[in-house]
């Protein structure tokens, strides 16, 4: 595989192996040959063909997003059948917005969830987000219910399925079909995660295949097409049990079931089964739809399997590989969901700016400036962290595990806090629940917990971060080498997302190194004054926090102290992402495609000050012109109808100046 050091070297000429980079996994060498051009930055590429293909993929994703924006039309036009008023009305009636689902069908959005290798449009996780944000900025529940759950469900197939399983799954999704995921029960399970199915695997399952979690879960690189077991021979499997809350259970053409196949509480307790409901002869019962408080229009219902016979080739991956597959593939979801949720929150921020500027000739009331600028800075920070996570899935797929969990842990929580802050800005408008101008807040407040799975989702993140903390403290923190700058630059070349390469856990952290290095680079600016000096001071405070964290982890904390440290660490990674993205923007600042606002440190200072506040560390006073600078950009983006994320995408529809 291309090691971290090699990736860095190819991008920057820095080189030199580090303790972290040296810990390559056995069997991972496969990855390097499979992925030409991986890790190449802006300064060179292993393959110009790959670079060209990547550039085409990026331009194509941007074009698809633009086209989707146009198709969906002006969100604020009350007469638009795909506008916010119509979507909110469908939510009120607790039905999917069928007209808009048909529109998405016609646009072939199902192809977004199928890897390009199998005829779809999925190339990179960050480009998937680019392509889908137009849907999520209007309605996160639509994005889930229409489709992205199909990607979550089929991830195990892309990671470990046989060639036939992949081809059939691809055909189904490309033909407009859906896949549903039937989760196993996690600790502290809520309604969505509660209960699980059990399966008795056929006698032939697993024969001749290494069952060890080591070779299965660890070396993601090994699972090429045809490698999964089953293969159509041997005895079939028997599936039993019920699960009550499954999104799209009734309309899914294929179910991906994480079934318990061993009563013991081991790493190999579960297996993944691919079930075609139309091919189950007997014993599959569809249970009634379940009403949910969030994503009210989502079609959640239950399934009961009464000893259903499944063919031998229903098994995905190896017997007992289920939990490992969940761990490996969930990291994509853990970056994609937060990134898409940023777009949903963006719409609420727009509505809040609308609320305090419309019909007002005087400047915005003083008390709303701090909250609005602060939420904008938080959205940029959330987007920065999500961007780094999404790109790491391609750039460093075996080392992204901890980062992905941190993204999932930090971003939805940050957004939830932002929504609460925006609720006060919206004032009485927040009760105008069907209003296209103001109804998005209440809806997202309901939908976001379903997207993030609440405490159970966060606890699952802790469950993978906590056991890796000691290794991170020993090996990575204050020791690892910086990741390549291309990690932080959306326009830089990137290898395709390959689910087969994703590692289950590795005790790696490359991102905290960015924090340390940025602090070093900024240290000279401390005496310069202004935003840069504050940024330098913040960097030093965060590094101090990393040092303290390291000492506390090395002291061997028990629960709950370990969870507290896991929380703090995740926030530190968010700060590191902000430094990395700001530095990349500052470097590109004057060049073509540079963005003067993102190159300016003001947004980073505000975002980092707020992250520091959440960590409870000492933060310097905000420079006087910080909030005004960020606010000015926010109001400009609102007036010109651009998104409040790093991309600042011009929305297809103007409408922000329209009467509300």
């Amino acid at each position: 595989m291309r090691s971290l050091a090699a990736a860095t070297a190819s991008a920057q000429g820095r080189g030199a192996a580090t303790a972290d980079a040296g810990a390559a996994r056995p069997g991972a060498a496969h990855a390097a040959t499979a992925r030409p051009g991986a890790g190449a930055g802006a300064f060179g590429s292993a393959s110009s063909d790959a670079a060209r293909a990547d550039a085409v993929a990026r331009a194509d994703a941007v074009a698809r997003a633009r086209r989707l924006e146009e198709l969906l039309g002006d969100p604020y036009d009350p007469g638009n059948p795909h506008g916010l008023a119509a979507l909110l009305d469908a939510d009120r009636r607790a039905v999917p917005p069928y007209a808009t689902e048909e529109l998405l069908d016609a646009a072939g959005i199902g192809a977004e969830f199928v890897p390009a290798e199998y005829g779809g449009r999925l190339t990179r996780a960050d480009l998937l987000v680019t392509a889908l944000r137009p849907v999520f900025r209007r309605d996160a529940a639509l994005g889930f219910g229409y489709g992205i759950t199909s990607l979550f469900a089929t991830a195990a197939v892309w990671a470990a399925g046989t060639a036939r399983q992949r081809a059939e799954t691809a055909d189904l999704l490309l033909g407009g079909g859906r896949a549903a995921i039937v989760h196993h029960e996690l600790a502290h399970a809520n309604g969505i995660l509660r209960d699980e199915l059990t399966a008795r695997l056929g006698a032939g399952a697993g024969s001749g295949v290494g069952v060890g979690v080591g070779s299965g879960a660890g070396a993601g690189a090994g699972g090429g097409p045809g490698r999964g077991s089953g293969g159509g021979s041997g005895a079939g499997h028997v599936l039993s049990g019920r699960k009550d809350v499954i999104m799209n259970a009734a309309r899914a053409g294929v179910l991906v079931v994480y079934a318990r196949t061993s009563a013991e509480r081991t790493a190999r307790s579960h297996s993944v089964l691919l079930v075609r409901p139309d091919q189950v002869a007997d014993g599959l019962v569809h249970l009634p739809r379940v009403a949910t408080a969030g994503m009210r229009g989502g079609l959640f219902s239950g399934l009961r399997f009464d000893g259903c016979a499944l063919p031998a080739d229903a098994l995905v991956g190896r017997p007992g590989e289920g939990v490992a597959l969940a761990l490996r593939t969930f990291q994509v979801n853990r970056c994609v969901i937060p990134a898409l949720a940023v777009a949903a929150a963006d719409t609420v921020l727009h509505s809040a700016v609308h609320a305090v500027t419309t019909g007002r000739s005087k400047p915005m009331a003083r008390r709303w400036r701090g909250p609005l600028a602060g939420v904008f800075a938080d959205l940029l920070a959330a987007d920065a962290m999500a961007l780094v996570g999404l790109r790491a899935l391609s750039l460093l797929p075996e080392r992204s595990h901890v980062l992905a969990a941190a993204v999932k842990y930090v971003v939805p929580d940050l957004l939830r806090e932002n929504l609460e802050e925006l609720a006060s800005v919206l004032g009485a408008h927040r009760y105008e629940q069907g209003s296209s101008r103001y109804g998005s807040l209440a809806k997202l407040v309901r939908d976001l917990p379903v997207a993030g799975l609440g405490h159970a989702g966060n606890a699952a993140c802790h469950a993978v971060i906590v056991p890796q903390l000691p290794l991170l403290a020993q090996r990575s923190w204050l020791r690892a080498q910086e990741p390549p700058p291309s990690l932080f630059r959306p326009e830089a070349e990137l290898a395709q997302l390959d689910y087969r390469l994703l590692g289950a856990a590795g005790g790696h952290d490359f991102l905290s190194a960015t924090l340390v290095a940025a602090a070093g680079r900024l240290s000279g600016a401390r005496s310069a004054g202004g935003h840069l000096a504050v940024l330098a001071e913040l960097a030093e405070e965060f590094v101090g926090e990393l040092r303290a964290l390291r000492a506390q982890v090395l002291a061997g904390p028990e629960l709950p102290a370990a969870v507290v440290l896991s929380d703090r660490y995740a926030l530190l990674l968010a700060a590191a992402a902000v430094f990395g993205v700001w530095e990349a923007r500052a470097a590109a600042g004057e060049g073509p495609g540079g963005d003067p606002f993102l190159a300016d440190p003001a947004w980073a200072v505000l975002a980092l000050t707020r992250l520091g506040g959440r960590l409870g560390i000492a933060v310097p006073e905000l420079p006087e012109d910080c909030v005004p600078r960020v606010l000015e950009e926010l109001v400009d983006r609102y007036r010109t109808g651009r998104s409040c994320d790093l991309a600042g995408t011009a929305y297809g529809a103007r409408g922000t100046e329209a009467a509300g």
């Binding site: 196993h184 996690l186 600790a187 502290h188 399970a189 809520n190 309604g191 969505i192 509660r194 979690v213 080591g214 879960a217 660890g218 509480r265 081991t266 790493a267 307790s269 579960h270 949910t292 408080a293 939990v323 761990l327 909250p371 602060g374 929580d413 806090e417 609460e420 802050e421 609720a423 006060s424 004032g427 009485a428 009760y431 105008e432 799975l453 609440g454 405490h455 159970a456 966060n458 606890a459 699952a460 802790h462 469950a463 993978v464 906590v466 056991p467 890796q468 290794l471 590692g503 289950a504 856990a505 005790g507 629960l559 709950p560 102290a561 969870v563 507290v564 703090r568 959440r614 409870g616």
Partner: protein, 321 residues
């Protein structure tokens, strides 16, 4: 409110310790009994079983205590763990740094900046009650918890989002809410606090509320205004917005306790529960409790929260190097 009931709750005598110390209750909102009866916790000994059972069974629990009741414990706790303490001759000396720092965590600096002794004591005891209450719900030790604050000022227990907490104090009373279903907010006020309807109704009430209040006899009107005030405080605290939310931008139906938009339309669909109780015979304690609708696990214990399957896979992978 309906004419049959007195302001701020019916009857009840002051709490005299133990769990039976609550006064009469008055639960408002759709579905009576939406808010659990507050539990009087007279010191670090609880009764915590009731709190844990309330969180598991009811989804939330509300406790109250007085600063005086807990100060003795704070002093002895601090003295016990603070080896170099100069003794409890004066209460100030009793609160040693060595004892308080682990208890207060990052609140220690804030404590040190507080000059007034009474305020300091209230600060310490209220944080103790929050931590002990949270620990009861989490099945863990209070000192291990990191009590932190959101940007809006809302307290939370870092890393342990299975519960949400809220704190209120007035005079000597400390009230703490803890919930596993969503946000919770509590607010306490002395029951005899008089608020001038004439002076305040514009800022505190929606037009519909003001009209309803105006129809009441003067004494009832004042009492109802106070109850409304505490409900609004509790709700804004649940939203994490402290004083940022304008009280005339949302309202309550006086009889049903339902949350209303300023124009009088329902503003929620039953996801909020509100209630007001009278405690110790002299305080109004209002609670706002949100149910995010995820149907969360009844188990909120720390030691069961890390999924065993995920843990074991990660540990095996790491062991393999």
């Amino acid at each position: 409110m309906s004419g049959a009931e007195g302001p701020g709750g019916t009857g009840g005598t002051g709490g005299t310790g133990g769990s039976g110390g609550t006064s009469g209750t008055r639960s408002s909102r759709d579905g009576a009994g939406g808010i659990a009866r507050p539990v009087h916790v007279t010191g670090p000994d609880g009764p915590w079983d009731e709190v844990a059972a309330g969180v598991a069974g009811h989804g939330h629990a509300v406790v109250y205590a007085t600063s005086g009741e807990w100060l003795t414990a704070a002093l002895s706790d601090a003295a016990l763990s603070g080896a170099g303490s100069s003794g409890a001759g004066s209460s100030e000396a009793g609160l040693s740094e060595a004892g308080l720092r682990p208890l207060l965590g990052r609140d220690w600096q804030r404590y040190r900046r507080t000059a007034d002794t009474t305020v300091r004591h209230r600060f310490v005891t209220s944080r103790m009650v929050v931590k002990y209450t949270a620990a009861a719900a989490l099945g863990t030790e209070p000192t291990a918890l990191d009590l932190s604050y959101r940007i809006g000022g809302r307290p939370y227990i870092r890393g342990l989002d299975q519960i949400d907490v809220s704190l209120s104090h007035t005079e000597d009373l400390i009230a703490v809410g803890v919930s596993r279903t969503g946000r919770i907010g509590v607010d306490a006020e002395p029951a005899d606090r008089r608020m001038s309807f004439e002076l305040l109704h514009d800022r505190v009430c929606t037009p519909a509320e003001a009209a309803e209040l105006a129809r009441l006899p003067a004494d009832r009107r004042a009492a109802e205004l106070l109850r409304l005030w505490t409900l609004k405080e509790a709700y804004t605290k649940a939203l994490g917005q402290g004083l940022r939310l304008d009280f005339n931008e949302f309202g309550f139906a006086l009889d049903s306790g339902e949350l209303l938009a300023p124009d009088g339309r329902p503003a929620a669909r039953g996801e909020w529960s509100f209630g007001t109780h009278q405690v110790l015979g002299r305080y109004l304690l209002s609670v706002a409790c949100h149910d995010a609708g995820l149907d969360p696990a009844a188990d909120t214990a720390v030691h069961t929260m890390l999924d065993a399957g995920f843990l074991s896979v990660v540990e095996e992978v790491l062991a393999e190097g």
